[in-house]
């Protein structure tokens, strides 16, 4: 089987702690989609829940609030990885719960 465990750790570490403009706290907030002020709150919430609803105006609002493009890029990446990670973890937990009762071999701890 494939194994993205290490690649995922690296991806998350680079996004949250790699060189960049946004502070570690703000990157974590985008990753968690929690604790951001407007207009970032709206933009990041859209990235997380329905990225297809992001508009030119959402990006323009973030820029008008003084954020540079690198800053926006970093926070959007963090938000996307954060939501995809939550969904991945929820699914793995559901698989764990399903196999505990059904007699399938338990999953090796990561």
């Amino acid at each position: 089987m494939s194994d993205i465990t290490q690649a995922h750790k690296t991806l998350v570490a680079r996004a949250l702690d790699g060189d960049g403009r946004a502070s570690p706290a703000q990157r974590r907030a985008a990753f968690d989609n929690a604790g951001l002020a407007e207009p970032l709150r709206t933009l990041i919430d859209k990235v997380v829940k329905h990225a297809y609803t992001v508009t030119d105006e959402d990006i323009a609002s973030a820029k008008a609030a003084g954020l540079g493009e690198d800053h926006i890029f970093e926070l959007a990446v963090c938000a996307a990885i954060g939501q995809a990670t939550r969904q991945y973890d929820i699914a793995l937990a559901a698989l764990e719960a399903a196999t505990e009762r059904s007699g399938h071999a338990p999953r090796n701890p990561r």
Binding site: M1, S2, D3, E69, I90, A91, A94, L95, A97, T99
Partner: protein, 193 residues
């Protein structure tokens, strides 16, 4: 794209590579490539490593199966660029465009194996609702899918749940039919390194 840095903010050596791509292919550089190659240490390189493992690493799923899963997840995320590109890769891998089209039009009636259908049903629910439960997983297991196969499918789903968000947030341009065909063929032959 909505961020000018992703269009033209790359370092000079990368701009040179883009010029070569444009000259050789006679097509624009895809926005996915531009995004992945902007500050690649931050996002593109680690994401490429993960994507290669999920899409081309060892798995009981074929390349065609995994590409079809990716296209299907992208359909839920309303990402036309990713849906069409990876449907194209799946069609090349399967050598069967009709099967891919049918699976994206109606998963329930498409001429695909039940384990793949059950898995894709679960991935689409996970992507649409942002959650699945143990009963959803039991249904996939009951269709004859191993837990290892489910984990492999979830890695594919993770990949597209990141990339689709990049596409729709940054406003990747939907390219021409010729560019879609070239992109799919490139990914089929070269992968995601």
């Amino acid at each position: 794209m909505r961020l000018a840095i992703l269009d033209s903010g790359h370092r000079v050596p990368m701009k040179g590579k883009f010029a070569v791509i444009r000259t050789v292919s006679r097509l624009p550089v895809p926005d996915a490539v531009k995004t992945n190659r902007y500050r690649p240490d931050f996002y593109g390189t680690p994401m490429g490593v993960l994507t290669q493992e999920a899409m081309r690493g060892p798995s009981a799923w074929s390349v065609g199966d995994r590409e079809l899963m990716g296209a299907s997840v992208s359909q839920i995320n309303k990402c036309e660029v990713c849906t069409k590109t990876h449907a194209g890769v799946a069609a090349l891998a399967y050598q069967d465009e009709a099967k891919v089209s049918a699976a994206l039009v109606d998963l329930e009636t498409a001429p695909i194996q039940e384990p793949l259908r059950a898995t894709m049903r679960m991935l689409r629910k996970l992507t649409r609702d942002h959650a699945v439960n143990a009963d959803d997983m039991r249904a996939v297991l009951a269709a004859g899918v191993s837990r290892e196969q489910i984990e492999d499918a979830l890695a594919v789903c993770f990949t597209f749940n990141v990339v689709d968000r990049m596409s729709r947030t940054f406003g990747w341009v939907v390219p021409s039919a010729k560019a879609f065909e070239a992109g799919s063929r490139f990914l089929f032959t070269r992968g995601y390194h």
